[in-house]
Symmetry: C2
Subunit: 336 residues, 2 copies
DNA sequence: AAAGACATCTTTAACGTTTTCGATAGATTT
DNA sequence: AAATCTATCGAAAACGTTAAAGATGTCTTT
């Protein structure tokens, strides 16, 4: 392996000088600095992270936690898109990304212990359920910048999708197409859901529409079956809606099943809209009208934020970032 | 931070003794070993990975590479399922998992350099295209156990889905339902595809079915549009098949569009089967008959294999593991 | 009883960095 | 000419761990 010492010998300088040259220290002449950097490159030098980490007590890595209890883990496209862009942005910033779990070597350990073990410089929590609070409380024990996706906690940074604006955009669009009887099948009780329901009501009210309570039905995210059941209820109403908002895009598959079963044509007989902008669902016909969340930007912002905080050092001051999505007008909302 | 030294002082023994006690060395009395372990636990000791890694030149971590040029990255459910189980199994074995990319700190670096930088003990390559060979040749530069998913290379370990058996199972089932005119829309030209096409032909031949060349059409994986086009071609044949095999499950959405457009009822008018066992697709109606690949077992086997090889040390001897999937009889293959 | 064998613990060096502080020499000031 | 400053570099310690080799005392063997 080519180490600082080897380079030092090759250059006829001291080990310390090489270190300084490669770290662009201020007390070295430009000439030697460049000469050493040149030689280092020629020799194919790669710093030894372990040594670096040991000395600086920084690992230049971010840990990522995603709630394991959720029905869907990494397989949810929204989360894997976030993970993907987070990873890429982190690497661009010089940080590697690894998984923090609640076990290691067969023994159960807390997230905080795992994070401390790897000495990571920041942690991103990606989760889909409200059980996140347990994770957050656990990971708090380890003192480093922590960011949470789509959840807000006291003293913890967050990157959230702007559900309020998204819901307004969606309702505004549907209203612009002439719909006045709009139902909302909402997902599991989480921050996100509460924000959407709130925004949905506000948006309707803003348009002078009042929403009868039977137009608001609970289902679950990523669970077409529950949405299908909810859809059935809606269609059975004496005064059914002309447009139905779904918990997410995947749920469209469930709604679709029910519509087809009851011979409802989309969008001729009933309109429908999703939420997420999942690519797979965009392949099913008719094309779902939905609000695509900017997962890439969310991951990117999260990485930037953690890097910023890690470099600022103690005390870590939480930030909150909201990322807007954008409407994808498909074919499932009909003008009336 | 609580270090070995602190524990040594607390126990009144030397630092080395503590190290040995925690590593369960053979030249320590059972009594002191247990006493020290007890104290260490009470003090909340966590080993410092950086120091450990520096000293042992092992990082107790696996790197994972997935081909970036593919149209779909982590968002493909098959791959994220593998990643997920790989990560979990690796952690159980005491290895953390991090992403190896081709850039770091804004600069482009090779996968090998990245791996060396983090000093990882093993590398898993998950990729969807044939460009994998570039990745493999790159990563070869770094001397450590390397495993490849669904690809086989000289001197590189592999964990592959048993496509041959899978295809036979699928064709056998379809044949058992009475079908004799079976078409196969196959995906991009990769190891996997070639294996499936080969197995498809062999299976048909085994049943005394001969497959006209126009029953074999190329499309792309994870690309419903191309499958829709291929489906159109098949339906336009003077003697169309009674059953169509698709590249993968996602493609079902494309085939479905074409069938619906041409008013073909499934499975009354035509039968169809997929490959993968993607959960999302299982929500669309009618339920797709498919062959579910055991992604979890593949990830698990990969982790076990890498750990085994890492512990065996130089020279690393490649292994090849084949994992069987299982048939999911849905509703899309009709008995005739 | 001397000599080895064994069990148990300690000493010490090393892994590859970073960083503080000191050293040297030339340039500048008084 | 002496003193101070500045720029540039080197020596050495430290980060927390492991592992080889040494030390000590006890037990067995002859």
């Amino acid at each position: 392996m080519v180490t600082l010492r080897k380079i030092a010998e090759a250059c006829g300088v001291s080990l310390a000088t090489v270190s300084k040259a490669l770290n662009d220290a201020s007390d070295l002449s430009k000439a030697t600095k460049e000469r050493i950097q040149q030689v280092a490159k020629e020799m194919g030098y790669m710093p030894n992270m372990a040594a670096k980490a040991l000395r600086t007590s920084r690992s230049y890595s971010f840990g990522i936690i995603y709630e394991e209890a959720a029905k869907y883990g990494l397989t949810h496209e929204f989360f894997s898109r976030i993970l993907n862009s987070f990873m890429r942005s982190a690497q661009t910033l010089g940080y590697d990304v690894f998984f923090v779990g609640d076990q290691l070597g067969g023994k159960h350990i807390s997230y905080a212990e795992h994070a401390r073990y790897r000495n990571c410089d920041g942690i991103l929590i990606i989760a889909g359920t409200d059980r996140v609070s347990d994770v957050v409380n656990d990971v708090r024990q380890y003192d480093c910048p922590v960011a949470c996706i789509d959840f807000e906690f006291e003293g913890i940074s967050s990157v959230v999708s702007d559900n309020t604006r998204g819901m307004h955009d969606l309702v505004d669009y549907i209203h612009s197409q002439g719909h006045r009887k709009i139902a909302f099948i909402y997902g599991d009780d989480t921050h996100v859901t509460r924000a959407r329901v709130r925004a949905f009501k506000a948006a309707c009210q803003g348009h002078g529409i009042d929403v009868p309570p039977e137009y608001l039905i609970e289902a679950f995210y990523h669970d077409p079956e529950s949405t299908q059941a909810a859809t059935r209820k809606l269609l059975a109403l004496s005064d059914p809606p002309t447009c139905v908002l779904l918990p997410d895009d995947i749920s469209y598959l469930g709604a679709l099943n029910e519509f087809r079963a009851q011979r409802f044509g989309i969008p001729q007989d009933i309109s429908v809209a999703g939420y997420d902008g999942i690519s797979v669902v965009q392949y099913v016909h008719p094309h779902l009208t939905t609000l695509r969340q900017d997962a890439e930007e969310m991951g990117n912002q999260a990485a930037q934020m953690l890097a910023r905080q890690a470099e600022a050092g103690h005390p870590f001051t939480p930030e909150h970032i909201s990322v807007a999505g954008h409407l994808i007008p498909g074919e499932t909302v009909r003008p009336i």
